[in-house]
């Protein structure tokens, strides 16, 4: 399996495209008495772009073959922890491609898009109800953008109050986006350690709280899959000193319909519609990151908000205190529509069932892995996990030298996608596994068997494992070469320049 680069397949002179009304171009030049070449002057591009052109059949074949060398949940399990790779209903793809959505211009008069606005309005109401928040902004295009929005809201909230709070508390088990987002909003990050039962260390938290504390960013259940059972106490502590709680919604899947972030005491949250609500990940995006708030924080949400007056839906641009816009227009409409469909089809009860099934799947897998040598479940193994679990392969590494990465590659070799590895950072040789409710029992059992067999293989022949994967379209890749200043090659252009003799180093 290998497929040439498009640069090897076509040349800039080729084109597989027929442009519309091409027969009119000559007439237009005549009527205008001018050509762009004449009029653009010094702003005229002097040569055709170096973009190879392919015929339609070549384009189709190229990308069809590339797709066959790719792997998504429609191929097999992708149990990446904290990524919630659930099934993406096909009907959502159909509907999101409806011309009555795709062909709408963002500046169309609201009266001409009432159907879509109604969908977005219902979605916003549903998400608020499901999370116990008052209002949501659909604008944020990804979870991280939601976090940034939330952090900026906290920042502006205290600016407006004249309070100089510049510290954001973040547990050491948190997603990397939390500290990154806090930093982008200008906060100093104060790291809170995890106690040995896998939750926020309350003593450390007490020690960290001060008049500089703006808030805390938490995900609950946390990245160990453990529910922060002292969440109400944490909320009280923060609120009592006037600080706020931000909820990272990446881990909502195991508790939706069972307990609400709003009821836990969170003031601002974001939701990942492409994780929890059935919209696909697209190999990295597009996502949709919806940010919601309670009480006076609503005023700070990015604008516009979807709203309704009488029977009419509209965008509310009112922004006395708001942080402004996080991106242009209203959000990533396609995943928003898919989330609408997902919730519409399941209803509250279906969402709750999905959450419970995802937690059953997690704990069933834990039960299957019980007693499998080489792996351990750190942080209170008796406690049920929620959407995900984190195994440590430290025992196996100590015994055989085989690492979490080697295990990951051995899974790929079996045609199974690896879990998230080396995260959270507080677990050595971490394997962070999330099956979601979609994964059939058979697949979960197969996965447990695979991990067991890999451990057995590691004891028999550890060095062979280091050579995997072999059954994938390509063998294990060289990360040093990939990142070395003198070989790093992010584009064909750089390769071309090197081939032309330039010494390019980064």
């Amino acid at each position: 399996w290998s497929e040439p680069l498009v640069y090897e397949l076509g040349s800039p002179d080729n084109s597989g495209f027929i442009r519309p009304y091409s027969d009119e171009d000559a007439e237009l030049e005549r009527v205008l008495g001018a050509t762009p070449e004449e009029k653009l002057g010094r702003m005229l591009r002097d040569r055709v772009p170096e973009i190879p052109g392919l015929s339609e059949i070549e384009v189709v074949r190229h990308f069809t073959r590339l797709s066959q060398m790719s792997y998504g949940v429609d191929v097999g399990p992708v149990p990446l922890g904290s990524c919630t790779m659930k099934y993406n209903p096909k009907i959502s793809e159909d509907i999101a491609r409806d011309p009555r959505i795709r062909y709408l211009h963002p500046y169309q008069d609201p009266d001409t898009v009432q159907g879509l606005l109604e969908m977005l309005y219902l979605l916003e109401r549903w998400l608020a109800e499901l999370t116990g928040m008052d209002r949501c902004s659909l604008q944020t295009p990804a979870g991280a953008a939601g976090e940034l929005a939330g952090a900026l809201m906290i920042r502006k909230y205290f600016m407006d109050r004249g309070e100089d709070r510049d510290e954001m508390l973040i547990p050491d088990s948190a997603h990397g986006t939390n500290p990154a987002s806090a930093a982008m909003a200008g906060f100093k990050v104060v790291r809170i350690p995890t106690s040995e039962n896998g939750t926020v260390d309350m003593e450390a938290l007490d020690a960290a709280l001060s008049e500089r504390t703006a808030g805390i960013m938490l995900t609950n259940p946390n990245t160990l899959g453990i529910f922060e059972d002292q969440i109400l106490e944490i909320a009280d502590k923060l609120h009592s000193i006037g600080a706020l709680l931000y909820y990272d919604g990446a881990n909502l899947n195991g508790i939706m319909g069972i307990v609400r972030p709003g009821d836990m005491g969170f003031d601002i949250i974001h939701l990942n519609l492409h994780k929890t609500f059935g919209a696909p990940h697209g190999g990295g995006g597009p996502g949709a990151g919806v940010v919601c708030a309670r009480g006076e924080l609503v005023d700070y949400l990015p604008r516009p908000l979807i709203a309704k007056k009488g029977d009419r839906y509209y965008w509310d641009y009112e922004c006395e205190k708001c942080i402004g816009r996080i991106r242009m227009f209203y959000g990533n409409i396609a995943p928003l529509v898919k989330a609408f469909i997902y919730i519409a089809m399941l209803g509250g009860e279906g969402l709750r069932e999905a959450a419970i099934q995802s937690v059953i799947n997690t704990n069933y897998f834990i039960a299957l892995m019980g007693g499998v040598d080489g792996y351990e479940l750190p942080y209170d193994p008796e406690r049920p996990r929620k959407h995900e679990l984190v195994l440590s392969a430290k025992p196996l590494k100590q015994e055989t030298g085989v690492t979490a990465e080697d295990i990951a590659k051995a899974l790929l070799d079996r045609g199974l996608h690896a879990p998230t590895i080396y995260f959270p950072l507080i677990v050595d040789e971490a394997l962070m596994i999330e099956f979601t409710e979609s994964e059939p029992r058979r697949q979960i059992e197969e996965y447990a068997v695979a991990l067991q067999e890999i451990a057995r293989e590691a004891r028999r022949n550890p060095s062979a494992l280091k050579q995997l994967p072999k059954n994938t379209s390509i063998g294990r890749l060289d990360n040093v070469y990939a990142n070395h200043p003198r070989s790093v090659t992010p584009t064909f252009r750089v390769l071309r320049r090197r081939l032309q003799g330039e010494q390019l180093s980064l």
């Binding site: 076509g10 800039p12 084109s15 009304y21 171009d25 237009l28 009527v31 205008l32 591009r45 055709v48 772009p49 189709v60 060398m69 790719s70 792997y71 949940v73 009907i91 509907i95 009555r100 062909y103 709408l104 211009h105 500046y107 009432q114 295009p141 979870g143 953008a145 502006k156 997603h175 990397g176 529910f227 109400l232 307990v259 190999g283 990295g284 995006g285 597009p286 990151g289 402004g324 816009r325 996080i326 991106r327 242009m328 409409i333 396609a334 919730i343 209803g347 509250g348 009860e349 709750r352 406690r383 049920p384 590659k409 994938t472 390509i474 063998g475 890749l477 990142n483 090659t489 584009t491």
Partner: protein, 443 residues
């Protein structure tokens, strides 16, 4: 499965959730019960019927986003489920296809811009511009930013939001009311040794192509500020690419490259830089690179320079971005190679011809200034009417025509007689004539 777990009741799995906040019953959302696909389709259809789609003629509405045609093959490709149901390819060996497609997007975009490095997407043009400014501040360690006053007003808002948490001084440069172009003199006065970056859009909000880009680059570089350029990538079929006039960072939106309108998103934020250690190391977002297998026998693709990213660097990351618009990058890559360099040029020419035809025809009406600005334009142009435009707009709507964007409430113009029209390859001469005729009746 419960037996194997060792419990009788699933709620035992939630025993660590404080009793008092456990919901007694599922939330009352959705439509009251699980729906079949057919029931859902009927509900959705009843909603979508309330939307009005303009295809005959296609919208003349501009404002940074225009109606372009989407080749069917692009849709077919992004409908491949191996692509769209994949996660970020953290495990390269099982996702070579996706990674190669991303690498090809980066390469094609770099060649279109004549820049060396392009990432595999930002959310959209506006956040790319904001992140470019943040990157420039990190690179230069300066806290003043100079922004052209004729950029898209929503992008201006986004930039301000993203800089909210930073101690930064944003200064706007005015524009020439005749040409619509950046006031170069004013620019020269504002840019100083504290300036991190100068941000200009080509074409700008008015569709006007800045032809002073070489001079702007010189001004910026003289003060060791970075020159950030925002572009419509489709214009680059005929317009000089920013790599040819000294841009340090290029941003933009690849929406015109086969992505469709989608009522505002998902689009595809472009972010590209020159080959420069600092610029690349301060780049936000995901980069794919060429590499070899550990046995050195084969070439392959993998994520590179991840140490910039949040999942490794946490609060020291160049950005918090992780989910992006990757699938749209596959679409844009397919679009670009379907057209090829020559096809892109022909298409850009056709858009130039059609938009100029429309501008010229509208200028035939007495009292109409079309285009309002004298600077050479691409695709979009401002038309000033002898009466408030909203009445014209409403009459057009009644005839099934979606006219230009009213500029009454849009900075930087705020003129209730003006509107921003957009004409693309989708508009036949007959479509344009219909618009002109309808406007004639409305005047």
């Amino acid at each position: 499965m419960l037996r194997r777990i060792g419990i009788d009741d699933v709620m035992e799995l939630y025993k660590d959730v404080p009793r008092k906040i456990v919901l007694e019953k599922p939330p009352g959302i959705g439509f009251g019960r699980q729906l079949s696909e057919w029931e859902l389709r009927r509900i959705v259809d009843s909603m979508l019927r309330k939307n009005k789609v303009y295809t005959d003629p296609p919208p003349f509405l501009g404002g940074g986003v225009c109606f372009h045609t989407i080749p069917a093959v692009v849709d077919a490709i992004v409908s491949r489920n191996e692509f769209y149901t994949a996660y970020t390819p953290y495990q390269p060996e099982i996702n070579q296809g996706l990674l190669q497609a991303f690498f090809e997007y980066q390469s094609l975009m770099a060649d279109l811009l004549e820049m060396d490095v392009a990432n595999v997407s930002m959310y959209d043009w506006s956040t790319a511009a904001a992140e470019a400014i943040l990157a420039a501040m990190r690179v230069t360690k300066r806290r003043k930013v100079v922004v052209a006053g004729n950029i898209h007003p929503e992008r201006m808002e986004v930039i301000k939001t993203w800089l909210l948490g930073k101690d930064v001084n944003i200064q706007l440069v005015g524009f020439d009311r005749e040409t619509g172009r950046v006031d170069l003199e004013q620019l020269e006065n504002i840019v100083d040794n504290n300036t991190a970056a100068v941000y200009v859009e080509v074409p700008n909000f008015f569709g006007v192509i800045e032809d002073g880009v070489d001079a702007i680059a010189e001004v910026a570089h003289k003060r060791k500020a970075l020159f950030i350029v925002g572009v419509d990538p489709l214009s680059l079929g005929i317009v000089r690419p920013p790599g040819s006039y000294g841009a340090d960072i290029v941003v933009g939106d690849a929406q015109p490259l086969g992505l469709g309108l989608n009522y505002g998103g998902p689009y595809l934020g472009i972010f590209a830089t020159r080959w420069d250690r600092k610029l690349v190391r301060q780049m936000p977002g995901r980069l794919i690179g060429l590499t070899k297998t550990i046995d050195g026998k084969e070439y392959g693709f993998t994520m590179i320079l991840q140490t910039r990213e949040q999942h490794i660097r946490r609060e020291k990351a160049t950005s918090n971005i992780t989910s992006n618009e990757a699938l749209m990058a596959v679409a844009a890559a397919a679009y670009m190679v379907l057209l090829g360099g020559s096809g892109l040029r022909e298409l850009a020419r056709s858009i130039w011809l059609r938009s100029h035809y429309a501008a010229k025809r509208l200028a035939e009406f007495e009292g109409v200034e079309s285009p309002l600005f004298g600077g050479e334009f691409f695709k979009e142009f401002v038309v000033k009417f002898p009466k408030p435009y909203h009445t014209v707009h409403r009459m057009l709507l009644e005839k099934g025509i979606l006219g230009g964007l009213p500029l009454a409430d849009k900075p930087p113009l705020m003129d209730d007689c003006s509107a921003l029209f957009c004409v693309t390859e989708a508009h036949s001469m007959k479509d344009i004539d219909r618009l002109v005729e309808a406007i004639g009746e409305a005047l």
